[in-house]
């Protein structure tokens, strides 16, 4: 469902992503891990078509993001680390905007919106202007909007930042539920225990290169370390630092 073939991205003379290749299958929850500045957000932005790769190919749902970007974006949803909401729109008005944006049938879209309002418990504030929302309320509204058009691919960047335990639980349940329904989830996250808990497969990126990829057991084998994901992550990133040095 998601395919990256030898993808690179340079910011001037600085190479942020260096020839990475990945494949995420339908219905997988793929977590993308890495230290700060490793190239995670750059990769995600290339997947959404916000940035163009310096080299290589990115495909979402079989569509080449560079040549068929509009089609690719039609089947994906992106929830960034700092999600955007129009301050002077209510949550409901924002969702209605999304329904039109994705060309949904208005009646079906309205029905779906009511489902999302129920699922994310937005009823109490969905008709208030979003400028009055707390971080948790914003995040719930953004997730509800992202799922309105029933995307085939959900790309999430740091979804747990600033969320309380109840909202974290809500997001985790939601992601599991989406995967059960066959949605492909590509998630970047720093909270390794959540990654370990949710991920079908994991990729670790450091200095723009993939230093490990696979299930947790496959990563343990690669790291030659049988511990938790945190230990495996530190071992693999340290090893790659040593190689780079």
């Amino acid at each position: 469902m998601i395919e990256l073939i030898n993808v690179s991205k340079a910011y001037g003379s600085k190479e942020a992503v260096r020839g990475i290749s990945l494949e995420v299958k339908k219905g997988e929850l793929f977590t993308f891990l890495g230290p700060n500045g490793a190239g995670k957000t750059t990769t995600i932005k290339m997947l959404c078509g916000l940035l163009k790769p310096t080299g290589g190919t990115l495909k979402v749902g079989g569509y080449d993001i560079q040549t068929q970007g509009d089609q690719a974006r039609q089947i994906l949803s992106y929830v960034p680390d700092l999600p955007y909401l129009y301050e002077k729109l209510t949550g409901r008005e924002f969702m209605q905007f999304i329904i039109t944006m994705y060309g949904m049938d208005p009646q079906a879209g309205w029905q779906r919106m009511e489902e999302m309002i129920d699922l994310f418990e937005l009823e109490d504030f969905v008709d208030d202007l979003s400028e009055s929302y707390s971080h948790g309320m914003r995040q719930r509204t953004v997730f509800a909007s992202a799922l309105l058009h029933q995307p085939e691919v959900l790309i999430v960047d740091e979804p747990m930042v600033g969320l309380d335990p109840k909202n974290q639980r809500l997001v985790k349940d939601l992601l599991r539920d989406q995967v059960k329904k066959g949605v492909t989830v590509f998630m970047s996250i720093h909270t390794l225990d959540i990654a370990q808990e949710l991920a079908t497969r994991i990729a670790i990126i450091n200095h723009g290169r993939i230093v490990g990829q696979g299930t947790l057991d496959e990563l343990r084998n690669k790291a030659e370390h049988g511990g938790q994901l945190e230990d495996v992550f530190l071992k693999l990133t340290q090893d790659s630092e040593a190689v780079a040095a």
Partner: protein, 603 residues
């Protein structure tokens, strides 16, 4: 077939563009409506204030234009030239607006297209690049156009009233105003897109070159305009020479289309039955209306074609350009290597180290933002033009008192420029701290110091620039030192007060959600600040003029041996006191409001 293919091939075939067009139009309307509703519900005072001030300013402008056109109508050197002079003034006005709109749209659309969080959100969605561009272009046009409407509508209504235009004039005239903005703003947007797409590496150099060329071209034009006029007083010949030089502006489209069209429109008779009959009989009667519609068509056609080209450019290049801007690193900077930083630090050596540190932070932010300093260069260029033109003005034969009046006008003009400058660049300073406010608020210093540092920053620069300009003009006018001192004190009082108004009101009416300084300056708070600044500038100029009046009255009466000049000194002292009171009030009230708001602000 997948849902994506459905959306782009059969399910929504041919409907994606109209759907998105309607969607973005609805979005814009809803955002505007919600903002107005919110203001009407929670900020009635604010809304009332905007409406009241808007009406006062609009009415004042209408009165001024009526008087101005009336004056021109009576200005008869060689037969009836009044309509010809009015045409020239229209030409000059519309040429100036064309240039200003082109630049301001180009700069503002850059911020709207490439550094707004909204565009990042939209570009990650299925929104088409041209529709995102159109949405942001409309927003930019709204922000750049309102001041044109504030100035343009009273001018054209006054023109209509004075030349007894029919109702048809008032119905068609708004379409002229709206259509006129399309061409320069679309060219500004095109220039922005081209520069971003094709001049990634040398963008800064290109911008400097473009601004430099514009300033040099305008300077050359003004110098050529003033050459050969030095020895004349304002006379019919002087006006005729001026008209000869201004004539090219009258013939430059779209300004010339506007002028020709509006002059034709004012001649259209309002009798519909007569127009209808004329269509079959006397076609001469129809000529003004046909001319007016022809030029209106030209204005709109060229504007829409330019917009279409800009839109096509966005379809092809916008996403690439966005990627280029986002992929820029800005390069590494060697700490302490900038001579401008050292200059600013030296300039503020009178202040304490913490104030200097804050000022340096603001200075670095400013000089690294191309869209900010490019506007300063344009404003500075206009001031430079004005400065170099002073020695060439026809003042050589004037008496000292008349030259002193020109000097006072220089203070007034520089003051008005400074009011614009502080509203555009100083007022947004507090709002621009935005999300970083928590860092500043947690620093182990009093919050008041942040305000005083911004005041020190603004007041130092504006006072230095304005007093230098005034001093140069006073020297060129060969004015006596008491008048020079009076004008310098007036100018310093004016600029320090303007800086204080902008900093104080900037904190009081802070807008932490907006990241685009142009929008902050043209928003509610910025407008209030501009209006207060203009009012304050007028009061200070009046107080300065009183001082000049007392000085020359005293000099005249003592020359006649009627009264000793010394008897006027207490009155002169009183006017200086009046200036200090005005300046003190302009510092105390806004800074107090700003401090109070800033102290209680939560982050």
């Amino acid at each position: 077939m997948s849902s994506a293919d459905m959306a782009f091939t059969d399910g929504f075939s041919g409907s994606v563009v109209p759907r998105q067009r309607i969607m973005f139009r609805t979005l814009g309307q809803r955002l505007l409506l919600n903002s107005l509703r919110l203001m009407a519900r929670k900020q009635r005072l604010r809304l009332g204030l905007i409406a009241a001030l808007g009406i006062i300013i609009w009415s004042g402008l209408l009165y001024l234009f009526l008087e101005g056109f009336h004056f021109l109508r009576g200005f008869d050197f060689s037969g009836n030239v009044s309509l010809g002079v009015t045409e020239l003034i229209f030409g000059l006005f519309f040429v100036s607006v064309t240039g200003l709109t082109l630049f301001s749209t180009g700069l503002m659309i850059y911020g709207n297209l490439f550094s707004s969080p909204e565009t990042a959100f939209l570009l990650a969605s299925p929104a088409r690049a041209d529709q995102v561009f159109a949405h942001k272009y409309r927003e930019t046009l709204f922000f750049t156009g309102w001041s044109f409407f504030l100035l343009g509508t009273p001018m054209l209504i006054a023109f209509g009233i004075l030349y007894e235009a029919s109702w048809i004039y008032y119905v068609i005239m708004p379409f002229y105003l709206v259509g006129f903005l399309l061409l320069p703003s679309a060219i500004g947007a095109m220039a922005c897109m081209l520069i971003v797409t094709f001049l990634t590496r040398n963008r800064r150099a290109v911008l400097i070159a473009v601004v430099g060329i514009v300033v040099i071209a305008a300077s050359t034009w003004v110098i050529s305009l003033l050459q050969g006029m030095q020895k004349d007083r304002v006379s019919p010949q002087w006006i005729e020479k001026l008209i000869e030089h201004i004539k090219p502006t009258k013939n430059s489209p779209p300004a010339s289309w506007m002028t020709e069209g509006l002059v034709a429109l004012v001649r259209v008779k309002g009798d519909v039955s007569l127009i209808w009959k004329s269509a079959f009989t006397d076609k001469e009667e129809l000529a003004p209306l046909l001319d007016a519609l022809y030029y209106l068509g030209l204005v709109w056609a060229y504007g829409l074609v330019a917009y279409l080209i800009a839109s096509l450019m966005a379809t092809v290049w916008y996403r690439d350009a966005y990627d280029m801007v986002m992929s820029e690193t800005g390069g590494r900077r060697k700490f302490g290597a900038s001579w401008t930083d050292r200059f600013v630090t030296g300039l503020l050596s009178w202040s304490d180290i913490r104030t200097r540190t804050f000022v340096l932070k603001d200075w670095r932010t400013f000089r690294r933002d191309v869209s900010q300093w490019a506007q300063v260069v344009i404003l500075g260029g206009i001031m430079f033009l004005y400065c170099i033109s002073i020695p060439s003005l026809p003042h050589g034969q004037y008496a000292e008192r008349e030259r002193a009046l020109i000097g006072l006008l220089n203070v007034a003009v520089t003051g008005l420029m400074m009011a614009t400058f502080t509203s555009r660049f100083v007022f947004p300073l507090m709002s621009m701290e935005g999300r970083n406010f928590w860092i500043l608020s947690l620093l182990p210093i009093k919050r008041d110091r942040l305000l005083t540092s911004k005041l020190a920053y603004a007041a130092t620069f504006t006072t230095l620039i304005s007093t230098t300009l005034v001093l140069l003009s006073e020297l060129a006018l060969r004015l006596p030192w008491p008048i020079v001192v009076t004008h310098l004190v007036g100018m310093a009082t004016l600029t320090i007060g303007l800086s204080s108004l902008a900093v104080g009101l900037g904190a009081y009416l802070v807008n932490l959600k907006e990241t685009n300084p142009s929008k902050i300056a043209t928003g509610f708070g910025g407008t209030i600040n501009l209006l207060c600044s203009l009012g304050y500038a007028i009061l200070v100029v009046i107080a300065t003029s009183i001082a000049g009046f007392i000085y020359y009255s005293g000099a005249y009466l003592s020359e006649q041996g009627l009264v000793s000049f010394n008897k006027f000194l207490p009155w002169l002292g009183l006017t200086f006191l009046l200036l200090f009171i005005l300046g003190g009030t302009a510092i105390a009230i806004p800074m107090r409001l700003g401090r109070r708001a800033f102290r209680t602000m939560e982050f």
